[in-house]
């Protein structure tokens, strides 16, 4: 029965043009952005950064992909909020009165979709990176296996962010609000928090910090570190970052599954 629900949710996802949008965005941010950055070369960024012939340069270009995590998170919020927006949630809860199971099915379906998004992003980013570097004749400063590992981690992180989005949407119900919260927090909020003394030492354990730990992207941490008089903000080890991120998703998902049980559907 639960499998039937997941199948239904995957069908629902495939029934609109949303998945096309997701695919295009993944290719655009993956191949497009990474390709453009690789073609430009970090040494031509403002301020200039180490080039692609260095390990730092490669990590920097790939780590930029972390900034696009708001996209799968935003797509995730649509899972439940679209149902509230068009009131199909009535019909859905009539088919499945155990409302938590609806949210579980969406979490599973969107994990699959998030992994597909992440895989598309990672594969096209790899192509963009090698293509861009090859076009400029720059040998990469990281081995192919390390690059593949980083890309895989970024791909997985996208799925985790999708799940976070699903959970936030299930809790807030309102589409615009959920989008604003998720995009606002990931895109601007977390960075703004870094300006507040004291709070910025928390960066490593916030979702963005955990993501950076997972993708090995030190840029933000280093920037924050310069403002902290006690010096040094250290990102968590990648595995710990991954676990923390999964923990955020698990907590958010659990609350999301339990939350709709009691409330009346209007």
């Amino acid at each position: 029965m639960t499998r039937a629900l997941v199948t239904a949710e995957l069908r629902r996802l495939a029934a609109t043009r949303l998945w096309w949008v997701g695919l295009l965005v993944a290719v655009g941010f993956g191949g497009g952005l990474t390709g453009a950055l690789a073609l430009t070369g970090p040494e031509h960024f403002t301020p200039p950064m180490p080039g692609l012939h260095t390990a730092t340069g490669v990590r920097l270009v790939l780590g930029m992909l972390g900034f696009t995590a708001f996209v799968p998170a935003a797509l995730g919020t649509l899972a439940m909020t679209t149902e509230y927006r068009y009131r199909t949630v009535d019909v859905t809860f009539l088919f499945v009165p155990a409302r938590g199971r609806v949210v579980v099915a969406k979490l599973v379906a969107y994990t699959v979709a998030g992994l597909a998004y992440g895989a598309t992003l990672a594969v096209t980013a790899g192509l963009g990176l090698y293509g861009g570097a090859a076009a400029r004749g720059v040998p990469l400063g990281l081995s192919a296996s390390v690059v593949a590992g980083l890309l895989a981690r970024i791909g997985v992180a996208m799925a985790v962010y999708t799940v976070l989005g699903v959970a936030v949407g299930a809790l807030l119900r309102n589409q615009i609000l959920a989008l604003a919260v998720v995009v606002g927090y990931l895109y601007a909020g977390e960075t703004l928090l870094m300006i507040i003394p004291g709070v910025n030492t928390l960066y490593p354990v916030l979702p963005g910090g955990a993501l950076s730990a997972l993708t090995g992207f030190h840029y933000v941490a280093d920037a924050v570190a310069q403002q902290v008089p006690t010096g040094g903000i250290r990102l968590l080890p990648p595995t710990t970052g991954a676990l923390l991120l999964l923990g955020y998703a698990a907590v958010a998902a659990t609350v999301a599954v339990l939350a709709p049980l009691r409330r009346d559907v209007r």
């Binding site: 029965m1 039937a4 629900l5 199948t7 239904a8 069908r11 629902r12 029934a15 609109t16 043009r17 949303l18 679209t82 068009y86 009131r87 199909t88 949630v89 009535d90 019909v91 859905t92 809860f93 009539l94 088919f95 499945v96 009165p97 155990a98 009691r262 009346d264 559907v265």
Partner: protein
Amino acid sequence: MTGTTIEATALTKRYGHVTAVRDLTFSVRPGAVTGFLGPNGAGKTTTLRMILGLVTPTAGTVTIGGRPYRALDRPTSVVGAAFTPGAFHPGHTARRHLGVYAAMGGYPARRVGDLLDLLELTGAADRRIGTYSTGMRQRLALATALLGDPSVLLLDEPGNGLDPAGAAWLRALLRRLADEGRTVLVSSHVLGEVRQIADDVLVLHRGRLVAAGPWAELAGPLAVVVGTPDAPALARLLTAHALTVTPDGPHHLRVRGADAARIADLAAADGVRVHELRTEPADLERLFLDLTAEEAA
């Protein structure tokens, strides 16, 4: 098809200070179309949502075949429900919409094609629902409700926005479903629509049940309209004889509880002038207005 009865006992729903539904006790029988009537805001939708477990009653219980909706094993195979306006993602096609819910309910994919045929939507099945007319949406909502071939059908204002041909088509469908032994509960605030189809009626006013039963019984005794220049005197006289009298303009009374001959005799015996005497055809609209007016007074 074995019959499934809906039983509500002392059903009450309060929203803060607003009591949407108050102490409602009724049952809806299988094999008949039951009209669920009441003016805007009477509590019809709230009651239907409580039957379906979408809204939790403040007090009381409601069961379908003896069990609350949320305790049914495969609820959509027992109860089908449609609200108006129907709830659809405008970007889905009808076929995909039904496909999603067929998968969700575990119903075979061929149900989708069958229902598209039954509801005459096959021609538009692959168009985005956003482009559908009101009547098409109503039919798609019905198709969704019928996916599980349920023995109970709950429809909230299904006639809204239908043209006369569409309304006649809907009546024929509901009649057929009831004749197959299903329990059909149809809410409406339009009496004309219901009187052509309902076997039984439940009349709701301000959250209370003001009438219930076979509509033929409710609508008769027939009303007699009496035209008289001495309306107040005749009203006093007839009321004294235990008849129900409602004024209908300055020179007319609507009388229930006696036929035209008895009313004419009573008036003649007392020397009250009568200028007009006419028996009204059974008029639920009138009854409905009377019932809800009394309650408001």
